[in-house]
Amino acid sequence: MITKPETKFDLEAIRNEFPILNQKVNGQDLVYFDNAATSQKPKKVIQAIQDYYQNINANIHRGVHKLSQLATDAYEASRKTLQEHLNARFAHEIIFTTGASQGVNLVARAWGGKFLKSGDIILVSGMEHHSNIVPWQIIAQEKGAEVLPIPILESGELDLEAFHELLKKNPVLVAVNHVSNALGTINPVKEIIKLSHEKGALVLVDGAQSLPHMKIDVQDLNADFYVVSGHKAYGPTGSGALYGKEDLLKEMNPYMGGGEMISEVKFSGSTWADLPHKFEAGTPHIEGGIVLGKAIDWMNEIGLEEISRHENELLIYAQSKLNELEGFRPIGQAKNKASVLSFLMEGVHPYDLGMILDQLGIAVRTGHHCAQPVMDSYKIPGTIRASFAVYNTKAEIDRFVQGVQQACEMLR
């Protein structure tokens, strides 16, 4: 056991690490509340990118020369960081991807392409991001399998009773997110996995929204597949990872063909390399892979508990302030929530509100948040979503709430 160093949560120091936050937008200080779309990057991450290109940039894995070795070592060290952070058993259970979407697509194609049969059933939660719906639809259609939604309750929580019923159909795989990007709901994935396993179904967990906010332990969860996205967790764009259990990954088809992923190539037939290389065709996003590890280090330096404590404070504060406004309607009120606040203001279209807030220098997201089925189940076209990161402040929330009020006055 490593004893944690004493950390003191110093919000000002944290903010100072994000140069972009010092910016004026439309003449006003930027308030960035679009963190669920992508987070901003600390200096440490930006600097690590520069260091990579100025000191060790080279193609990895095959070079005998020094730079290639340094780059390879850094890349593999980052894989190890991810392994430890997610508590995977082996480093080769971590596959670098370009983001959560590619992770899901990889599994849908490489697992589904090999094992999915006509008539098979895949359960997909009704609060999934399109990235955890469409890949299953595509492969299911190819294979004659069926994708069934797990309904959600008015509270924004999964309907676990309905899920129990659906499990009786013996699905082969269940796809669910750990945290919903549209509602903020934290799903009981450990329980979902346990129930699914009892019925013989594998479970893929979409952790795009959990990585930035909470401790993840894939072994404790007993997840079969777990996908994360780097750019939402203070890391570079185009970075991400898939965790998969060794025995599952070993049995799967390769995903892409190319350099790195082969053992031998002949026109008469080729053979595949061992894990993790089998799934990493072509020159990877080396900078992204390496620096994703630095972003994780950065989060751990602050401490995930501190991060989620702070974000939770912001969420509660924002909710109580918005509650005072007339016509405020929160969308998604699960008991267990991450720092995502989706809502509507009566008589105001989300798009209009977003435009006015932008004029005030406040960045929120409006629309369906790539989760149309969620919007359909609430019978709304979309929401306004404010999502908080570790660098956000109560003062920013005050400005935001004031902005919402001002906008509503203009628009109503």
Binding site: H349, Y351, D352, M355, I356, Q359, T366, G382, M410, L411
Partner: protein, 141 residues
């Protein structure tokens, strides 16, 4: 009737009166509120313009030689923008519409609406208006 360009200049002048974005947006919201209602029969998926975050319905009729536009949106700012586009282009011949330079939106200081992102439907709206014009022109040939 004034020319397309004259109307555009008028609009630009109107907006020039406002010193800050608030004034501009309030004016835009007022324009949106004043937009004549579209016939409900045209608020169908066929008339939806793709690529807008808010829903936008646009319909065009040929009355004589001239095209008549009607439109609606569920977002009020979007309605205001539609109104800006319809005012100069309404009751014009297909050729006039096809040749119209719509750069005046930029001059108003509403550039953020002009960016070709899919969140913003302005470009799609202009395109759709010109597509209608082209269709009517083709029919009349």
């Amino acid at each position: 009737m004034e020319s397309i360009q004259e109307i555009q200049e008028e609009i630009v002048d109107d907006f020039a009166l406002f010193e800050d974005w608030m004034g501009k947006y309030n004016h835009l919201i007022d324009l949106g509120k004043d937009l004549p209602e579209i016939d409900d029969a045209y608020k169908t998926d066929d008339h939806l313009i793709k690529g807008c975050q808010s829903r936008v319905w646009l319909h065009a009729d040929m009355k004589g030689e001239k095209i008549h536009f009607s439109a609606d949106s569920d977002a009020i700012i979007t309605k205001g923008i539609i109104s800006l586009l319809i005012r100069p282009l309404n009751h014009r011949s297909p050729d006039e519409i096809l040749n119209a330079d719509m750069g005046f939106v930029d001059e108003i200081g509403l550039k953020e609406h002009l960016s070709p992102t899919r969140a913003n439907g302005l470009v799609s709206m202009i395109k759709q208006m010109k597509t209608y014009a082209l269709a009517f022109k083709a029919k009349s040939l």
